[in-house]
Symmetry: C2
Subunit: 321 residues, 2 copies
Amino acid sequence: MNVIAIAMSAGALALAPSIIPPTPVPSAGRDEAATAISPGEIVAAAPASEWVAIAPEDMLVMTLAPAADGAVREVVIQLMPAPYGAGWVENIRTLARARWYDGIAVTRVQDNYVVQWGDPNAEDEAGAKPLPDGLRTMKEADYVVPFGQTRPRQRVVIMSDPYSDMAFYEAGWPLATKDGSAWPVHCYGMVGVGRGMSPDTGSGAELYTVIGHAPRHLDRNIAVVGRVIEGIEHLSSLPRGTGPLGFYEDPAQNVPIASIRIASDLPESERPRFEYLSTEGPTFDRYVEARTSRRDPFFITPARGIDVCNAPVPVRRVSER
Amino acid sequence: MNVIAIAMSAGALALAPSIIPPTPVPSAGRDEAATAISPGEIVAAAPASEWVAIAPEDMLVMTLAPAADGAVREVVIQLMPAPYGAGWVENIRTLARARWYDGIAVTRVQDNYVVQWGDPNAEDEAGAKPLPDGLRTMKEADYVVPFGQTRPRQRVVIMSDPYSDMAFYEAGWPLATKDGSAWPVHCYGMVGVGRGMSPDTGSGAELYTVIGHAPRHLDRNIAVVGRVIEGIEHLSSLPRGTGPLGFYEDPAQNVPIASIRIASDLPESERPRFEYLSTEGPTFDRYVEARTSRRDPFFITPARGIDVCNAPVPVRRVSER
């Protein structure tokens, strides 16, 4: 048993879209008694009280240059709350408010790894874009925080994590802990801060998101500062770079970024609204349990195991105002 | 310590491309004593004797319709050796030899999940492509094989796997075991057989590959029959489908597949040649150990842990004949 839940309660059930395996074809003689509702159905049944609004100052709206067919390509990123990634997140707000990101580009797309964006001329001293004042320099110790610094009322815990003593969720984020430290984990869609060989070289001017299997070896080695909550397909489906590390070889392949704005700096009518499912409520607990042992109709053999990146925290866009 | 190696020996070291984190920038004062060569460098130093040729009858060459710019898009898939996926692999050879796959299409691209291809008209009884004779019907029990049925001389074992008692590598493939059974695991790039709700519905006519975080909950629930060893970017960078489950809503979005051939059926001059790094040799053991605790210069804190999908078996194209 990999999941220990510290809170438990019931909830009404309803039908909803879910993450389902290939080829949904009518059933032919499966054991009905063995089946149950899917994780997506559990989430859809969560009461409104378990959905937590994401503050506009915690969201970035990244607008890529329009696609070849003119389509708008917008990516929404949720920034991590303090204490996780705090110094870097502040730098990112500083850079966004200085409009420093406007006109930079996606320069690297490495299959099963990362999409990265920054100043295409960063390594050319003469041509590099000057950084704004007020950026903090972070250090090695900032990649982790003391475990237990924040205390959610309840926690879903995943005991079997090859990369830590325990993975857990707190305030809507996947985290791991070992040796008294806690840190955010590199799951698909998480956003991190590119850096050079020295731990203090990542300012937040160069960011990446994970587009493949969780590169958990990066945990505690690079700052995780957020996650893509909408539009990751605009990044994950970009052509792969053919240069070393997946960098685009020809600058003409770079994908220009028109702007990156903090949602709270946008006119209110343009602000996206998102909510995440509380990781401290009973529904999240049931969701992780259901993902741990899938019993919805397609499944024959429930895994009875889960890894933290295979139980992503549900996030939804709120369309009505 | 997550890796137990049953064989160990030394090997010469050389420099080679590797899987390295973002932003390779000159070092600034890292502890040189703490650093070591990268997993990629270890692999590059493997003697020729540790590379195993992939038999031409175990490779599929899938040719997509040319890209908009006319570029050739070829994907090479390695099929699993018996006993894993055996019945399905035989069906796939039958379908390929009947040229049944020619003219089917990629119909589904779901972000962080799978790319799937098959007959676009499969669910239209009148329009569906008739299947060739001689296909075997597989059953639930075929999703696993008895553990220990094959006996490699040495094994690299990963003890910490949330989805099994133990993950291991055998004859070049990542596997897991529990309750006396063993099965291939759903890592990035693995190829599986789409099926309906009933376990016996997957013939091999509909296939998928993983393009996101390992969906290990599918292990033992769908047949894994191979892996993409070249050209996955032609699939993983396709536009995501906007219909339910990532299916393309408009048939015009489907990506036609010109042909799928067994490499041994191609003229010898057109056959691709590939090798995998023996998982029973000393280099693979050192490679997994190095990926478990990265000590190459970029890293501050070695993970001291690994998951089986984060240590993919190295495969290389052999260009000279």
